[in-house]
Amino acid sequence: MISCKDIIKTYKTGDTETNVLKGVSFEIKKGEFVAIIGPSGSGKSTLMHILGALDKPTSGEYILNGKNMLDLSDNELAAIRSERIGFVFQSFNLLSRATVLRNVMLPLIYDNDVKKEERRKLAEKSLLSAGLDKDRWHHLSSQLSGGQMQRVAIARALVNNPDLILADEPTGNLDSKTGDIVLETFQKLNKEYGHTIVLITHERYVAEHADRIIELKDGIIVNDNTSKSLLKNK
């Protein structure tokens, strides 16, 4: 479903050119749970931005669900993000003065295909999938705990039924216990609902929750393995 071929990303600062990605190629099938791991400066964030249609590669080919992402205008990229991609961020990025339900419905106001009456239903459905208790739905998001906030963020990423869920260090701001619950939520979404998930992290432990680990270092893939958790389960 995702096909990346020889992706190169170069940043120019003045006269110096920095090669962040130096030819990255991989494929991710529908329903896979993949972790991209690497130390800081390895280019994993840049790769996530490209996968999330927030950024364009300098060269190379990125095909998402049959659609070539090269040469798209800013508005076309926005439409891709609106319809095909769900983001989960390290710092949750919820609107603190809005209720949980409103936060989850937020992506739908940018998607003209979804009618206003359907929004609430879709939001409730994805809140149930993300495992947030019903009695929290009308709270302001600022009144929630970190784990609850991240589950609201996950529900928000699910609400437009995306082809791909991108999670950027989703446990980075959480203690290990809450982090585990969030990771289990991702596993559940992958196993039970069949969502394709790409998780970006620098922690080996977090990456082990995925089925496959792509390891980046200095802008190239150094390892692409089936993870231990999957081996254990087999």
Binding site: L54, L106, Y110
Partner: protein, 407 residues
């Protein structure tokens, strides 16, 4: 993104920061309110001046003696000129068509005494047409009868100001005798107040006497101070003015208009001049108030720029969720328009209230017109767009990746 969504988002973000939104609105409120008040004062003054000129009589031509070509030289004051005579007045009345009334006036400033009180005031010798042109009516006693006007009986009608000066407030002077320049006159009436117009031409600070009496006792010749002519309707004004001029030039045997020994004042022209003066006044007042409106607009821009900076992460988030640049700029633009719109409405209400209070307490006539309200309204909406555009553009141009990283 539908317009309803946009409105909802706007409401949520403005209400999230009530005190800041309120203060920003206040800037616009003060701007709009002062524009409406100032313009209403200007337009009130215009209306008042027009009313005063109108109250002198309508469709009026005033012929005064003395040269009209007077640039650089002293104008000979009308009282010292004797070029205009009762015969001229008669000729105008008899030979020119489309005239309603012709009233010659002999005026003089004289000392007036009643017992211990005395005052120096205008004595107007008038005929019966004069009363009609100026629509004079009496509050006490009677006006002159035709017999009194034509005869030489020494009777007088006082203006209310003179009556007050000589007899005190609310006194009834009818029947009393006053001395004008040493001659005794019997008071037969007091005119209704014309309203307080200040200066030499105060219509209330006057004593009217029959013209024949004035001629007999004060001037001793046939000259008149001026001739007031009322034309049947406004459309004959210019024609009548030309006719009167031609007639008088012939009678005075003057060939060149420039050396005429009389001048004609057209009331319509005076009105036009005064209107343009007070129009400039209105413009000036409006411009001063407009400056405060611009300051208010800059306040809006300032707040919107702060908001954009504060909400950088939110903008990044919205973009990552699929918001297009237009969605973002529309959202911020609508926020600033809503602020000015609200401020505009409150400002209009306050402005109307303020001009009402100025009218009641300040003693200045104010007129709030629909056009000034509409102007204020569209100006405030325009300010919302003009001063909101730059912050909105800035928000929509943010790079989503950098915006998401912003701390």
């Amino acid at each position: 993104m539908t317009f309803a969504d946009l409105l909802e988002e706007t409401y949520l973000s403005l209400s999230a920061n009530k005190s800041r939104s309120g203060l920003t609105i206040l800037g616009i409120v003060i701007g709009i309110a002062s524009v409406i008040t100032m313009v209403s004062v200007g337009q009130g003054t215009t209306a008042e001046i027009e009313g005063q000129i109108q109250s002198l009589g309508s469709n009026l031509l005033i012929v005064s003696p003395g040269s009209q070509k007077s640039y650089g030289s002293m104008v000979r004051s009308s009282s010292s000129s004797t070029t205009l005579t009762l015969a001229d007045s008669e000729a105008i009345k008899n030979e020119i068509s489309n005239l309603k009334y012709v009233a010659s006036v002999i005026s003089a400033r004289k000392q007036v005494v009643y017992k211990g009180n005395n005052t120096n005031t205008n004595i107007y010798g008038i005929n019966s047409d004069y009363q009609l042109i100026k629509s004079l009516s009496v509050s006490l006693g009677n006006f002159f009868t035709t017999t009194q006007i034509e005869g030489v009986s020494k009777v007088a009608v006082l203006g209310p100001t003179v009556s007050e000066t000589l007899f005190g407030e609310n006194a009834d002077p009818v029947g009393s005798k006053i001395k004008i320049d040493g001659m005794e006159f019997t008071i037969i009436g007091v005119t209704e107040s014309k309203g307080t117009s200040s200066g030499m031409n105060n219509a209330d600070d006057i004593i009217y006497i029959p013209i024949a009496v004035a001629k007999h006792y004060f001037t001793g010749n046939n000259s008149v101070s001026n001739i007031n002519i009322e034309v049947i309707s406004a459309k004959y004004m210019d024609k009548a003015e030309e006719d009167v001029q031609a007639l008088l030039l012939t009678r005075h045997k003057i060939e060149n208009v420039d050396s005429a020994d009389f001048s004609i004042t057209n009331q319509a022209e005076v009105m036009e001049t005064m209107s343009s003066v007070s129009g400039t006044l209105t413009l000036l007042l409006g411009a001063i108030a407009g400056i405060s409106l611009i300051v208010g607009g800059i306040g809006i821009m300032n707040m919107m720029l702060t908001t954009v900076t504060e909400r950088t992460r939110e903008i990044g988030l919205r973009k990552s969720l699929g918001a297009r640049s237009n969605d973002i700029s529309n959202q911020f633009l609508l926020e600033s328009i809503s602020l000015t719109f609200l401020g505009g409405i409150i400002g209009i209400i306050l402005g109307i209230l303020a001009s009402f209070l100025v009218n009641k307490l300040g003693g200045t006539t104010t007129v709030v017109t629909l056009s000034s309200i509409l102007l204020a309204f569209f100006v405030s909406a325009g300010i919302g767009i003009a001063f909101g555009y730059y912050p909105a553009k800035r928000a929509s141009n943010l790079n989503p990746i950098e915006a998401l990283r912003y701390e």
